[in-house]
């Protein structure tokens, strides 16, 4: 059975933010503007957290790219009153935009704060609307959204593989973030395939998870920095 997962090598991550920008471009995420961002309504499905250690001049910065962890035991799922979020058989935490009525309970119950709400309808002033990805919807106001592991690219690759009567090959699906990372710190693939790169990396001794004590069983693995 396929189980999609991701690995972030925090030792390789330079904090450049290319992944975040690529995510915006790929998924038609609205740019909320200065005023709204100051109110805390910016929508970065994938954010780079900066953690400073030490005092100047001996400061170290660690970068942590955080996105929806696609938890196997997701706390956001049982609390949605209309089943707008659920777990797919392939291990993704799916979000059904047209079902969402905007109670925002799922966002409150996410310990990683990776869910984002459309407070206003998105505005793509000309010529930005030409950059929109036709494979992805534009969400209306009042609807919750989050990282989907670029499900449109997964669908596309699976469609092609089905047409060609073969399985999806490891490395064939590149999420927008993994595609654009210059340090190749992001790896995406099938965790249930023991030979895939992501499964091998997830088994190394540097592998760790965020907020593991909450038993959310995230599908995202972080590789600790080399000390």
């Amino acid at each position: 059975m396929t189980r999609w997962g991701m690995v972030f090598d925090t030792d390789r991550c330079t904090g450049c933010g290319a992944c975040s920008v690529a995510c915006h471009a790929e998924n038609n995420i609205q740019t909320v503007g200065e005023v709204e961002a100051a109110k805390g309504r910016a929508m970065h499905w994938l954010r780079i957290e900066r953690h400073y250690e030490g005092v100047f001049p001996d400061v170290k910065v660690r970068f942590m790219p955080v996105l929806c962890q696609q938890c196997a035991n997701a706390p956001c799922e049982p609390v949605c009153p209309v089943y707008a979020t659920y777990r797919t058989p392939e291990g993704l935490n799916a979000m059904v935009y047209s079902r969402c009525i905007g109670t925002r309970y799922c966002a409150n119950n996410c310990p990683y704060t990776v869910r984002f709400f459309n407070w206003f309808a998105p505005e793509f002033s000309a010529p930005l609307e030409r950059q929109l990805n036709p494979d992805v919807s534009v969400r209306p106001a009042g609807v919750m959204e989050k990282c989907t592991f670029c499900v449109q690219r997964i669908q596309d690759a699976q469609d092609i593989a089905q047409d060609e009567e073969r399985d999806v090959r490891d490395g064939e699906i590149r999420t927008a973030c993994s595609q654009s990372c210059p340090a190749q710190a992001i790896v995406f693939g099938d965790l249930d395939n023991p030979d895939s790169r992501v499964a091998q990396l997830a088994r190394t001794e540097r592998a760790t998870h965020l907020l593991e004590e909450l038993s959310t069983e995230p599908s995202v693995t972080y590789l600790r920095g080399v000390r």
């Binding site: 997701a74 089943y83 659920y86 777990r87 058989p89 935490n93």
Partner: protein, 166 residues
């Protein structure tokens, strides 16, 4: 012989008791006697031979059971009919279903109680004729009305405040 109504207003329930006894002695059937008051009276103030009963609170219990079962079925059967994927969590967990069943119990009991009460009281019944002495009920008196022949004996109205016929 036309049946009319003889109304008598009394100030205290003791006097009503006397009146009811006289009516019983006169052999007036309990269906022909109507006692009306603005407060609940002592339970022995009933026409001689009359009976008061209520199916409450048993209907509340039955209504509660029906409501609880209905809500339980709603949750269980519908969730199983639309089996949405939940990533391993049970689709009909007993604790959460229990919460909804409890509310169903309550709502069933409430509706059954009110429905039984309205049925037993014969409400709404907006077309019964008002009587000439009804305002005495509003001033905390007790009204006894007897449906009887014109000119029948009215010894029982001896201590009434006021009597009238219609």
């Amino acid at each position: 012989m036309t049946d009319g109504r003889l109304h008598a207003a009394f100030a205290t329930s003791a006097e009503v008791r006397v009146a009811l006894n006289r009516l019983g002695q006169d052999g007036v059937p309990p269906d022909a006697v109507e006692i009306r008051s603005s407060v609940p009276l002592e339970h022995d103030i009933v026409p001689v031979g009359g009976r008061i009963k209520s199916r409450l609170p048993w209907t509340s219990v039955v209504g509660g059971l029906v409501g609880g079962t209905a809500f339980f079925m709603l949750v269980k059967l519908t969730s199983e009919a639309y089996p949405l994927p939940t990533g391993g969590m049970p689709i009909v967990p007993m604790p959460t279903t229990g919460v909804i069943t409890f509310e169903g119990l309550a709502i069933g009991a409430v509706i059954a109680t009110v429905a039984t009460m309205l049925y037993e009281c014969g409400l709404p019944s907006l077309f019964k004729k008002a009587g000439p002495l009804d305002h005495h009920i509003a001033s905390d008196h007790i009204l006894v009305t007897v449906t009887c022949d014109e000119g029948a004996s009215s010894a029982w109205t001896a201590k009434a405040l006021e009597t009238a016929r219609d």
